[in-house]
């Protein structure tokens, strides 16, 4: 068991990242920048069809083109292609232009198969079945809060039915039971809410540069968030000892959950490099990045929820579907609920983890329903939320965070009831939403710390920086313990041969890596003290480090470098492991949005977002804030702009670019106020990650703010002019607005 120091000099302050200048000056070499000698350029042929079988594939002509050194076919005759963007083959050539020509010269004959690419198509009666078990896989209904007796009765009713009817009947019985509860509610709302598929759109596309340094030794520069995952995958694919594969990721251009593995393109790059005996660079083009490199699944839900006059939710029925799953209900204490979820299969690229998987969808749908219910009850949605907070430790946490956020957005003074927002064309509205995330750290990661006689300090671990500042966080911890500056620390990560490090996902990197870093540096420092104590005529426990100096019995005795020189020729090197007490798991968080909606154009401008986030002890406030800003902006994109558009007839993605696939630019960014909720008891929890939580509730808060502004629920995200104007037109037709 260990604790972070009570008072800190560096931890919790704002420290620019160590590699910031390298990135900002163009000198940082990303995996897609690396150019080993004799390197060939790769290009990929991928499926132009949503669903097809390859009847023949002929590379003869392609192989004869100038500059072409090798072609590697993955999908051979007979292979089925399941989506536009599915991998077929790749070529390696002297120039990139030649490689692109080569893949276009591969002659492929396809047998086109029927496709479904939208949820609507997949779920339509008579749709071609593209998935074994059907295009729609209904899960079993789940239930919460019914008494054992009621559940037993339901099981009795269901028991004698044939297997195929059981699930359906159980769902009906659950809903009947919850409906009984809702029948006693003072207000009940029913709404349907939906969010589209969005893609990760990593700016550096997926891929790697492969280089065989010997017949059985492979080095790759991979754009990945898991150097060791990629190393193990490649070692397996080429039947190599794991130690013969080195994955290097000094920098990488964004992953967001989609870049853990080597992927088929990574293996193909290594194959091409092996065939040609030359290094090969192979990265996806922008379109394939959208098509094949992952996405956040869609989500839709028909929600029925009720509450009593005094604002207590009594029950909820949810019928949800999407191209993936999500947790539901979300955050709030719902006494009785039932839910059934259906996974919908389409001929489009598969989902991958995407910054807080499932949570943004769950949050948007839950918070929309909560807001609509508060509106029906005629109560302040903020007060309504407070009455239905979870009863565990999150409850008081949320309450404190809501108070902070409400103050900063001006909720009590400025917020008007839904729709009562004036008469001009521009309507202002406010909305809020709560989120939760687990995070936490792995306990099997290691960091090594070497103190050299010249005073240099080197940390090593096989983690990587996905953009959160991992390198800098480790250096800050080391500098704090050694009385040095972060810039004095050489923080080496992004190499799979280093001590086991955490893959960057799920907000786990900092909580996984901080404890072993603390442990390694503490051990190295103690070892240093042991080794030099005699030379400074003191006992090891009479030594300390402060402001770049060695203190002997509390008095400055010499500089850090002079102290290290006393090591003679032998450096000190220690490996640190997980230590309990330095990290924790589980966060809340809340966000508020202020929007201006032009009801004549449907254009939504977000004017202000307030984000309150807890995450235990913060190591670097500057990069921590950046992650929260970034999470909010990601959520703003989800709330306002993003949407994968599929064509039902041709089965292709219509906006696989960065023009019609819209992402915010500088003029779309509102004022964003970020605050850490970090009272003493939060700091005492230790380190918790922050990558995911702040991106969860932004789209939900924006959706609620839009409804507040215009008096009408816009039930489809994103909050585009089309969706806003369509919602207004529908309400007008129904006489609601």
């Amino acid at each position: 068991m260990a604790n972070w120091p009570e008072t800190t000099r560096l931890i919790g302050t704002r420290i620019p990242r160590l590699d910031g200048l390298a990135k900002a000056s163009g000198k940082a070499k990303y995996p897609s920048d690396v150019h080993p000698e004799k390197m060939l350029f790769g290009a990929i042929l991928y499926s132009p069809h949503a669903h097809a079988k390859i009847t023949s594939i002929d590379t003869t002509a392609a192989e004869k083109l100038p500059g072409v050194k090798a072609i590697h076919v993955v999908a051979k005759a007979g292979a089925t292609l399941r989506y536009q963007g599915d991998f077929i083959a790749a070529a390696a050539a002297t120039t990139e232009e030649q490689a692109r020509d080569a893949v276009r010269a591969i002659k492929v004959e396809y047998q086109i198969l029927p496709h479904v690419v939208t949820e609507e198509q997949a779920m339509a009666a008579g749709a071609p079945a593209i998935n074994r078990g059907g295009n729609v896989r209904a899960g079993r209904a789940s239930v919460h809060g019914l008494s054992d007796q009621v559940l037993a009765e339901i099981e009795k009713t269901v028991n004698d039915l044939p297997a195929a009817e059981k699930d359906k009947r159980r769902k009906e019985e659950y809903e009947k039971a919850v409906n009984d509860v809702l029948g006693k509610a003072d207000a009940v709302v029913e709404g349907t809410y939906s969010l589209p598929v969005i893609t990760h759109t990593c700016l550096e596309s997926h891929g790697l540069t492969a280089h065989w340094t010997a017949a059985d030794k492979l080095t790759v520069w991979a754009s990945t968030q898991g150097v060791q995952v990629v190393a193990n995958e490649l070692a397996g694919a080429f039947d190599l000892p794991a130690s013969n594969v080195t994955v290097l990721t000094d920098f990488m251009g964004g992953g967001f959950g989609s870049k853990f593995g080597a992927d088929i393109w990574g293996k193909t790059a290594a194959d091409l490099a092996k065939k040609t005996g030359m290094p090969v660079r192979l990265f996806l083009d922008r379109a394939q990045e959208h098509l094949a490199a992952g996405n956040r699944p869609s989500a839709a839900g028909k929600i029925k929820i009720g509450a009593t006059k005094d604002g207590k939710v009594t029950g909820l029925i949810a019928d949800t579907h999407g191209t993936g799953g999500f947790p539901f209900p979300y955050v709030y204490e719902i006494p009785v609920s039932t839910r059934v979820h259906s996974d919908v299969f389409v001929n489009a690229g598969g989902q991958r983890a995407f910054r807080a998987p499932g949570h943004p969808q769950a949050c948007a749908i839950m918070e929309a329903a909560m807001d609509d219910l508060a509106d029906k009850l005629g109560v302040d949605p903020l007060e309504f939320r407070i009455k239905n907070l979870p009863t565990d430790f999150h409850g008081p946490l949320y309450e404190a965070e809501i108070a902070m956020g409400a103050e900063l957005i001006g909720w009590r003074e400025k917020r008007k009831p839904r729709g009562q927002t004036g008469t001009g064309p521009i309507r202002h509205g406010m909305g809020m939403a709560l989120h939760q995330w687990g995070g936490g750290g792995a306990q099997d990661k290691k960091v090594s710390c070497t103190i050299h006689p010249d005073g240099s300090v080197e940390l090593k671990s096989a983690t990587q920086d996905i953009g959160t500042g991992a390198r800098t966080v480790l250096a800050i911890i080391a500098a704090e313990i050694l009385g040095l500056n972060p810039t004095d620390i050489i923080s080496n990560i992004g190499n799979s041969t280093f001590p086991p490090g955490q893959a960057s996902g799920g907000s786990t990197t900092t909580p996984s890596m901080s404890p072993p870093c603390y442990d390694a540096v503490t051990k190295a420092r103690d070892e240093l003290f042991k080794k030099i104590a005699a030379a400074v005529n003191a006992a090891p426990d009479q030594l300390a480090l402060k402001d770049g100096k060695l203190l002997v019995k509390g008095e400055p005795a010499m500089s850090w470098k002079d102290a290290c020189r006393k090591l003679g020729m032998a450096p000190v090197s220690e490996t640190g492991s997980f230590v309990p007490g330095l990290s924790s798991v589980g966060v809340g968080g809340c966000q508020f949005a202020l929007v201006a909606v032009d009801i004549e154009t449907g254009v939504v401008k977000v004017e202000k977002i307030v984000a309150i986030q807890d995450s235990g002890l913060i190591i670097d406030k500057l990069t921590w804030e950046s992650q929260v800003y970034g999470g909010v902006i990601g959520g703003l994109n989800y709330g306002l702009f993003e949407e994968r558009v599929m064509d039902p007839t041709t089965g292709v993605m219509l906006n696989a670019d960065m023009e019609m696939y819209r992402l915010a630019g500088a003029s779309d960014i509102p004022e964003i106020i970020v605050r850490a909720y970090e009272p003493h008891e939060q700091k005492a929890r230790g380190v918790i990650g922050v990558g995911e939580p702040p991106t969860i509730s932004t789209a939900a808060a924006i959706g609620n703010a839009v409804s507040n502004a215009i008096g009408v629920r816009v039930s489809q995200w994103p909050m585009s002019p089309r969706n806003v104007l369509d919602a207004l037109a529908l309400a007008s037709k129904e006489g609601k607005a």
Partner: protein, 212 residues
């Protein structure tokens, strides 16, 4: 004589040759295909070759002036400035992201103006002055320093484009307001969401550059 171009994004079929000949010009539409197409082409070529400018084809030897140095390289007419910088000259500050003039990651400064190098042909840059961010002042009066100090970057892949767009903007607008900065860098997209730091960095760099 319909030649089927596989369409973009790996798809087959697509615009026929006849089709692209109609109205496919940026500043001009072109001749319709006739029975004497080949003859016309040859004639026109011959005429142009006699008196007019050189027609470049195949591989082209080129000298580009980048960051104050002349770089000789071999390109094709279709090689973009971006691919030439990155693949041939190992100048990898400018990044390839959208590759279609939408995101700004490839921004380079040509004859003093920021442009998208992904949709600029290298052959059209002969004789022009090309600057990339590798040539910028990395000291505390420079734009890169402000990006680092204000954490106007996360993964850093869009950062070169933002730094370049900012530098070009500030050179022409030394005293910008926040709104002017936004407009000035609206041609760039960041996915991590670094805009708050980027905008602060631009304002801070404007002040710092005056001290240089």
């Amino acid at each position: 004589m319909t030649e089927h171009d596989p369409k973009g994004r790996g798809a087959p079929g697509g615009a026929s040759r006849r089709e692209f000949l109609r109205g496919s010009g940026v500043a001009a539409a072109t001749a319709v295909l006739t029975g004497q197409a080949t003859a016309i082409l040859d004639e026109a070529q011959a005429a142009a070759q006699d008196s007019g400018p050189k027609i470049l084809k195949g591989e082209v030897e080129l000298t580009l002036k980048v960051n104050g140095h002349d770089h000789a390289c071999t390109v094709e007419p279709r090689s973009t400035l971006l691919d030439t910088l990155r693949d041939r000259l190992d100048i990898t500050g400018p990044k390839r992201v959208c590759d279609r003039a939408s995101c700004g990651a490839c921004t380079a400064i040509v004859d003093g103006e920021p442009v998208y190098s992904c949709t600029t042909l290298a052959v059209s840059c002969q004789g022009k002055t090309i600057e990339t961010l590798e040539s910028f002042d990395t000291g505390e009066h420079g734009v890169p320093h402000a990006f680092c100090k204000d954490d106007g970057l996360m993964c850093g892949y869009c950062t070169p484009g933002f730094v370049t767009a900012c530098k070009a903007f500030l050179d022409k607008n030394p005293n910008p307001t926040l709104e002017e900065v936004r407009k000035g860098i609206d041609g760039n997209i960041c996915r991590c969401g670094t805009y708050v730091g980027v905008l602060q960095a631009a304002l801070d760099a404007a002040k710092a550059m005056k001290g240089a």
